[in-house]
Amino acid sequence: MSVAIKRALLRAVAVPFPSGGGRCCTAAVAQAESVQLSKEASLYVHWPYCLRRCSYCNFNKYIPKADNGSVMADCLQRETETLLRLSQVSRITSVFFGGGTPSLAHPSTIARVLETISRHASLPEGAEVTIEVNPTPVGRSRLKEFHQAGVNRFSIGVQSLRDEDLKLLGRDHDSQHALQTLAEARRLCPGRVSVDVMFGRPRQTLGSWERELSELLSVCDDHVSLYQLTVERGTGLFKQVELGQLTLPAEEVMAAMYHSARTLLLRHDFHQYEVSNFARGNAVSRHNLNYWKGRQYIGVGPGAHGRFAPLGEGGAVREARVQTLEPDFWIQEVQHRGHATRKRIPLATPLGLLEEVLAMGLRLTEGITHQHWQVFSPEAELYKVFGTFPDVENLLLNGHLILDDRGLRCSWDGLALLDSMLPTLLLALESYMDR
């Protein structure tokens, strides 16, 4: 990675609303980054199994029928290998083990996947390697081995510090377990532990949420992800809400919870760098930043998504790729042909790619810098595309959106309303590209 880019990245990461460089030199930097772009990727590994189903989760996960840990390990290794070769990337910038419950995987599986990566591409020393951990006694007991296998960042699904709520959410841990796991993780990877916490839970009030978050802030490390509970169709929770057995906080209360959390976190020196992510100092998630910055990523494992430009076939057209969802079929396909890519959708260039760069980039508090935009859109700069579209002008005028020398981004209030603005911005982009 060039020094300039590294610096740019560091700056982007360190300051919530960084001041951009001069526009004349951004072009050169952007070009360099663009070249780099196709050679690098991050890598996501999906572990599909859970011990139980959480009442709010509609994610791709399975309760394992039998211990097939070693088959899974073989196949994850095999698919990693195949996809790395297909993608032709020379460097993996970060790895993330998600799920499911990846902390159920044997640490040796993690080690083997990481070794495979190193064998087929460079995985720089110190590159971020994260695993999601369920804060159960079993999860905690494995932290050390995960660390030894090469994991250097833990993301812990604390969700709540209220035991009755954990029960309601169908979690298999209690607050004590969470605190112990958190402490152990911090001991192993100080400054590189994240906690997930959920607000907008049934019966939660603004006051109780603020107290809980304060408690959490007194014990957590330098990274917090906070999510509003979304009740998805087909979940146990959905049914209970539907039947009126549970009531969720009103929309206004939800908004107030989000707002107060942002304020509280800021007061504790956590800067918000994305809609749901907060970091102290330099502790941002490099891996997740990659998604929001529109960079390549490879998805390995059942149902994993990837976005990269595969080998050959008319050069570097980036594809959205999805692996086979169901673990048993996924295993069969990987054993049969080395990978289980089920769907490949070429992203239309440049519109399709730019749409994703826009929608994902604006989730960041720094938004889309001119330089970042130029990497993907060398010809049409942000001002040209968005500056004169009447509906976007309205957004700029009422202060929800900012377009200035640094780039395009949401204001503090605007970030909470991003999804109301994106359709307008996408129309502006489409209308520009049509010209």
């Binding site: 929309e251 749901s276 929001w292 909470a416 309303l417």
Partner: protein, 666 residues
Amino acid sequence: MSLSQLKQGCKTPLLRRMLEFKVYKRKIQGYNVTRTTLRHRWIKRLPVFSSGVQTISTQSDKDAIDLSKFPVERIRNFSIIAHIDHGKSTLADRLLEITGAIVKTERNKQVLDKLQVEQERGITVKAQTASVFYTHQGQQYLLNLIDTPGHVDFSYEVSRSISACQGVLLIVDANQGIQAQTVANFYLAFEAQLTIIPVINKIDLKNADPERVEAQIEKVFDIPREECIRISAKLGTNVERVLQEIVERLPPPTASRDDSFKALVFDSDFSHYRGVVANVAVFGGQVRKGDRIVSAYLGKSYEVNELGLLRPHEHPTDRLYAGQVGYMVAGMKDVKEAQIGDTLYHQQHPVDALPGFKPAKAMVFAGIYPMDQSEYTGLRSAIDKLTLNDSSVTVQKDSSLALGAGWRLGFLGLLHMEVFNQRLEQEYNANVVVTAPTVPYKAEHGSEEITIVNPAQFPDRSVVSQYLEPMVNGTILAPDSYIGKIMTLCLNRRATQENMVYIDDHRVMMKYIFPLNEIVVDFYDLLKSMSSGYASFDYENAGYQAADLIKMDILLNGKSVEELTMIVHRQRAYNVGKAMCERLKDSIPRQMFEIAVQAAIGSKVIARETIKPFRKNVLAKCYGGDITRKMKLLKRQAEGKKKMRRIGNIDVPKDAFINVLKRTEK
């Protein structure tokens, strides 16, 4: 929610609610109502000989019918009139069976009601004629049953049919007694000076109380109770007696075979193969195949190609004689050539034209738009075809910024509108948005008078000496325990009470004058629900009255929404405006800023609702695996946004307009 679901969802209640809604107008008419599909599906008939009944109605004697054997003295022309569900069609089925016109089977249900809409709703939309032979005291009679629609909106059909009759059977349910429509039907027949035979039907019902109903008939219609015939059309009880009474009590037609040929066209059908098939009542002389006849209206002459009886299928004969009723095909190629109410005569023997019918006036207007503009052409052709069969519908092109290009159609009444829309859907598979109905207002300035159908044409107060609104005479029959509630409802609808009489110990008949506008949307539903279904309602037009009308605008953040502008009575402006604002509030999605929904008269705001802005609208988790799904959703929203109507800086989905403009089901 998809629009087709929406339409689906509202169909049933929409139909139900209309079943008893009927208006009648006296002697208005002149439509070319023609149909091509009627009368082609009659069950093949076999000779039926039942005791006491002799019939010559068989296929084999088809050519043997010699109508000259039926002088006027042995002809009776009659209609059956009744409130909905009192058993008109069942009695018709029985009469046809007993006289052998149709085979007696279990399937004979509403055999004269052929349209899908008629069968489904249990109503008659289109008049039918059936000639039967009946032997009474050794004499064979020709009885012509001219089936009439039982509903007010179709009273143009009723009065046409009645013009060819000398008497009616007035059916009253032995349990329900006199209902609003019974009253309307009675007066229609009474004013046409027809002989009325009251028939009390459904005496087999457990709760039948024929004595009470006879008393009601005596009190309300001044017909001696002894004249009522108690029957059960369902079981056939006493139906034979109805036939005897028809012969004995009804007068024969006053027509003479010795006069010159003169016939009234009282209905017509249109067939693509044969052109116009006219239903005629012969008022004098005779006509036969090959005669040259003239239409008094157009002065054009035609050759009679075919004529005969409707039994109820077409049964060709040689001639038709004075007093008889039948069909005629005479080479008329255009529906407009067969004017309903026209007089036909022999080319060599001109006669004075019969009085004929006045054209009906559309009293209820509604916008009809294709669900999707791509369906415009298809819908246009469907409307063209339907209006060919029902020229009482007026058609005007219209367009709405929200709903696109469409039409403003005028109907005789609400049921007429419902039936038309149902036929559009059923027979032409059209997918339409129907806006809430409005009525034609008028504005006067000096001697000038203009009719205002569209609020956009509403002239300013300053150039108008007065505004006028259409009025109706409404009749409500209900148990007396609901009097208070009904009076309050009517008062709220700006109605004036004319009178109120007890028709028996517990039931009252109330007469009101209503502004038509007050009853076209939800009046009948409210009346039904507040009376647990016991009240019945009927109305007839009662001219125009001066009214304090104003134009009301609907504003979104101060910007007027043109397509929602409406004409209201000053007294009702607040309620209507408030309701509009509430419906809009529920239909416009929240946006990033607050939206004020206001109803205003001139610059004065009279009602307001506020749509609160979003305080948070952003997906919480959006990582590598979420991008595809999120992008799909965003793209869909962006596409949807393109189709929205922009008012100021507010995006209003088409659905919102549909929700506000379309008729409600409640």
